[in-house]
Symmetry: C2
Subunit: 315 residues, 2 copies
């Protein structure tokens, strides 16, 4: 079953076609399914489904998200508690996230936001040019996305470090050629050495509201925040205060507590805020459908399903 909320019928059809192409041996049903169909559904492929969409599916064996973030799914009290839930780790989404991070870092490092502001004033003013190795980037989160972003930014010459809330095995990252900061105690020092902080964390009970006044005060004066993760990480009033005080030089925000961002929100018109409409990285039907097909076939064969969510961890 394919269940979700879509930008339009075209988007739903594109996903359905990609899934049928990738897994022709399955029979695909688009939610809402009738009672007869509900009794047969083994796999639910979901993209931000309506609450309750996954209730009353007696033979359900796997919920496969099409998106990387599963915080909205986990907040649905009718989500069957015992059915495995898989996040999407889509090469297409990862590549798009890397692109957005590269664009944000280049824009900040090379002052392209400032040049855009200067253009609006017809002001011709070259600004000093720094080398990439003079720019320190801190990634918040070091999962599949954080690693891919780190690798590409390091290849571009940036000084990259990453902070993790903790909990991952050291072994997982022993080969990472970058500085890793672990745990809440390490966060202030990690923030203090960064020119650009990129948020790639999942939304969990521990990360909700993490980017608060204390967080911004720990950042280097004039540094920039890039939020590509979740709006609920951010105390918006504290962020605006830090921007207004010059403690933060700029915020590039793709995600917001309320989406779409209300038209009267200060972020839209703040001269040092860049607003993006949650487009940093979308799953690509062509590559993501292959990931779904791999997981469904693994399920059928009794093999391990990839990227299962640990519900107590929240991602």
């Amino acid at each position: 079953m394919l269940a979700g909320r879509w930008a339009g019928d075209d988007e739903r059809e594109r996903w359905l076609q990609a899934l049928r192409d990738a897994l022709p041996e399955a029979r695909w049903i688009v939610a809402p399914a009738d009672a007869v169909a509900r009794d047969e559904i083994e796999v639910a492929v979901v993209a931000n489904p309506a609450p309750g969409a996954l209730a009353a599916l007696p033979r359900l064996k796997l919920v496969q998200s099409l998106w990387a973030g599963v915080d909205r799914l986990l907040a649905d009290a009718t989500l069957p508690p015992d059915v495995p839930l898989a996040r999407m780790v889509d090469p297409g989404l990862t590549e798009a996230m890397v692109q957005t991070a590269q664009w944000a870092v280049l824009s900040l490092h090379r002052r392209f936001f400032d040049y855009a502001a200067q253009q609006a004033q017809a002001q011709w003013l070259p600004l000093p040019q720094r080398r990439a190795d003079e720019v320190a980037v801190l990634l918040l989160g070091f999962g599949a996305l954080g690693r891919a972003v780190a690798e590409r930014l390091m290849a571009m010459g940036y000084r990259v470090s990453a902070w993790r809330r903790g909990g991952a095995d050291r072994d997982e990252v022993q080969d990472a050629p970058l500085t890793l900061h672990d745990g809440a105690d390490a966060l202030p020092a990690a923030l203090a050495q960064a020119d650009i902080v990129i948020d790639l964390l999942p939304l969990t009970a521990q990360t909700r509201g993490l980017l608060d006044a204390r967080f911004f005060a720990a950042m280097r004066r004039g540094a920039a925040l890039v939020n590509l993760a979740r709006g609920a990480h951010v105390d918006d009033a504290a962020l605006l205060a830090a921007l207004d005080a010059g403690q933060l030089g700029r915020a590039v925000l793709d995600v917001f507590a309320t989406e779409p961002l209300p038209a009267d929100h200060r972020y839209w018109r703040h001269p040092r805020v860049t607003v993006l409409p949650h487009i940093a990285a979308l799953s690509d039907p062509r590559s993501a459908a292959q990931v779904v097909a791999g997981n469904v076939r693994a399920l059928w064969r009794g093999k391990p399903v990839a990227h299962l969510v640990e519900r107590d961890r929240g991602y």
Copy 2:
């Protein structure tokens, strides 16, 4: 001798210090030099020097530019005709040019210019996401800069091709894993398949005015132009007409026929033109001084000097 026009005394001092550090065995004089000093000068290191600055240097053996483009130097009738002239191929400048090209391509591919326009209207509107391999980039020019840009854009997954006016040996690029288009006859077909065209050509008699109405008409409808080379390549009236007609989707311009761009020029306020104040890539004193030192030492030892300009070719 160090001769140039600088953004300020600080910039001149930074260059002088970097050159002294890189080549301490030389005696450095800042232009204008007195008559006694002029008789001793063997090497002139120049950055956009005043016309005539290189006249009457009887022992001059090498003119070393600090910038990649030498068109202004060659236009100086008092430039000694028999003294070798070297362009700057600075790893710092090359890297900065690669960064600017990456930023421009990402901004166009991922629609970040459009999102900036939407932000100004408080408009939340996600646009379709394309993969990098669905975006065709054509480089005009395939020298040191073009190759570096091509390599990085290909690593990012873009479909990259390059056009050369012709004249370079085939041997030079036989290992290039990209499509090469050679000569004026090949230009229209090369333009017709590109979503993004990046100008990296030198300014010569052959490239002056190359980007004219016919050039823009040969481009794919809605494609974008990125000019990181020279303003004199462009017929500005033809470019504005192509933008106004929707034949071009956007122009990202770092260089202009007159710089600074006059405050009343239409480019400043055109909704689909991005104006940069000639900052795509500056030579970096730290790395460029090493290049100068290498060339001066080669001269002293009778070894080949790197990146000599062929004056009849113009670069």
